[in-house]
């Protein structure tokens, strides 16, 4: 069974310039919480997840927080949850903050011709929810997740 047999081709994507407000509207409207971020030519540049929105509540810019968290001698002084309620955010944040500021740029992808087993292995190894499926040039062709693979396997076995 190949990825192209189980993947879904209709995907909601966002651009790097999509604002926080628009992102929240998409999350409100659709049942999934991971959106591929693509360029004009369809190349995948990142993934923005609902959890990534929490980054705006961090008291310092995301790249500085990332730098600190990589320092093994840094320990969080307060639990992350307190940020959500304590940090002051100006109302303009809704349009000033865009997908590019929030997305995870280390995207693990897979090709259409790879096996579903390989896709499952990547999902589990990297602890992912969604795996973007791309062509040779890195352009988005669809997505595949655990549900799609399970559905494919169950159909093949005649259970579903």
């Amino acid at each position: 069974m190949l990825v192209k047999d189980v993947m879904r081709r209709q995907v909601i994507t966002v651009k790097e310039s999509t604002t926080l407000k628009e992102l929240m509207r998409i999350f409100q409207k659709y049942p999934f919480h991971h959106l591929p971020v693509v360029k004009e030519d369809g190349t995948v540049v990142g993934i923005v997840a609902l959890e990534d929105i929490l980054k705006i509540f961090e008291p310092f810019p995301p790249y500085l927080m990332e730098m600190l968290r990589r320092n093994p001698f840094y320990t969080e002084t307060e639990p992350e949850e307190t940020n959500l309620f304590k940090v002051d955010l100006p109302p303009e944040m809704g349009v000033l903050c865009v997908a590019e500021d929030l997305m995870n740029m280390n995207v693990v992808t897979i090709k259409e011709d790879a096996t579903a087993m390989e896709a499952l292995s990547r999902i589990r190894s990297y602890n992912l929810k969604t795996l973007p499926v791309v062509d040779e040039d890195g352009r988005l062709q669809g997505i595949v997740n655990l549900f799609d693979i399970l559905m494919g396997v169950l159909k093949e076995k005649g259970i579903f």
């Binding site: 310092f60 600190l68 990589r70 001698f73 589990r124 990297y126």
Partner: protein
């Protein structure tokens, strides 16, 4: 003492004292050192054989590797030229000033060099905690956070160079060729070893499918292997592990990021054991004779940080508030400096310099833990970056 009871005792004591010190705003590193002090010098318990060397090598191999993981190309690009200039100038000036101050009192060049090379590292936790408390926002805060995030790495590099120099001075090698070749081998050999292992690891991890467990086991094994091989061929151990991390993050970012998260999740108990082992080595009987050095080190480090950040700020054409107040905000010292002091103690044990370094660094760390939050607070307020409710 039975090794299992010993380890459990240190972990529990470290945890309990850590909780207490947190309440008064002090770093947990001090708690772990205190746990070692109570078990070792106070109750006279001896660490089991090989405990110290095993825990030091494992901890510093992992720390070096994780610090190296922060050197992704994207990251350095994002960080900007300005921060790189300030960081470089601050680290160099702090080292030189401490070196000068300590030499003026002791006339002991190897001791002055080693203390100078331990001085630049700033503790991230204590500094950032003050920024959070004051809800600091602005360029001074951003530059300070970037620098505390990175100067551990710069500190490790300076330390590696300083240690090579000191060993050379104490070894008494006279020929110019050997005195140049030896440090060059320690440093460039470490870069080649770490780089080679890192490149090999990234190649293999691209070819082989790995689960989280596999990544976890392999990254720990490779970091420790890199340390061991570096020790065997006589190159800088910690620098080799740092280059390994830097190579992996740039050649296989996915595996590197994943391994960073996995290793980070086990660091707390490792740090407790590591700092407790350091605490066990602290010798207070030396304190009476070293207080002038303690004072000069603290004065030199403070002056060096203030002048270094000031000069870095001027050279990078930063805002006046960075030039004036950044150094005062970055006085906190802990973690990596104490860790490197412990490593220096082991590496210089045959040269009669070891014991004093560890007692000195533990004492000065405690002093800076108390003084530095006040400095950070002063800098943030003077720069006008503290939120109104805290003023």
């Amino acid at each position: 003492m039975n090794i299992y009871v010993f380890v459990a005792l240190i972990l529990l004591l470290g945890f309990i004292i850590g909780r207490l010190l947190r309440r008064i705003g002090l770093t947990e590193v001090l708690a772990y050192l205190t746990a070692g002090l109570i078990i070792g010098p106070v109750f006279g318990v001896k660490a089991p054989e090989h405990f110290e060397s095993l825990i030091t090598a494992t901890t510093l191999a992992l720390v070096g590797y994780m610090v190296g993981l922060s050197f992704s190309f994207d990251f350095l690009k994002k960080m900007g030229r300005k921060i790189l200039i300030i960081l470089t100038v601050e680290v160099l000036i702090t080292s030189f000033v401490v070196w000068g101050f300590v030499y003026a009192v002791t006339k002991n060049l190897p001791l002055a060099i080693i203390l100078g090379s331990l001085a630049p590292a700033t503790a991230p936790a204590g500094t950032v905690a003050v920024f959070r408390d004051l809800r600091a926002r602005g360029t001074l805060t951003n530059v300070a956070i970037a620098i505390v995030g990175l100067d551990d790495a710069a500190g490790i590099i300076i330390y590696s160079i300083g240690l090579v120099w000191v060993k050379m001075l104490l070894g008494g090698k006279a020929s110019i060729l050997s005195s140049l070749l030896h440090p060059a081998w320690e440093i460039f050999g470490a870069i080649a070893l770490g780089g080679g292992i890192g490149a090999g690891l990234s190649y293999i991890t691209r070819k082989v499918r790995l689960s989280s467990d596999h990544i976890f086991v392999i990254s720990i094994a490779i970091a420790v292997l890199c340390w061991g091989l570096a020790e065997m061929i006589g190159v800088s151990t910690i620098l080799a592990c740092m280059v390994l991390g830097a190579m992996l993050i740039n050649l296989n970012g996915h595996i590197a990021n994943h391994s960073n998260k996995l290793i980070d999740s086990i660091m707390t108990p490792i740090f407790i054991l590591f700092f407790a082992a350091i605490g066990m080595e602290i010798n207070f009987s030396q304190f009476v004779s070293i207080w002038p050095v303690v004072l000069m080190y603290c004065a030199g480090r403070s002056v060096g940080k203030i002048i270094g950040c000031g000069m870095g700020g001027v050279l990078s054409k930063s805002e006046p508030k960075i030039t004036r107040y950044l150094g005062i905000a970055l006085l906190n010292q802990a973690g990596v400096a104490v860790g490197l002091a412990f490593l220096a103690t082991q590496q210089l044990s045959g040269y009669g310099l070891g014991g004093i370094i560890i007692t000195l660094m533990a004492t000065t760390t405690a002093l800076f833990q108390i003084i530095s939050p006040l400095g950070t607070q002063y800098a943030v307020k003077r720069a006008g970056e503290a939120s109104a409710s805290n003023l």
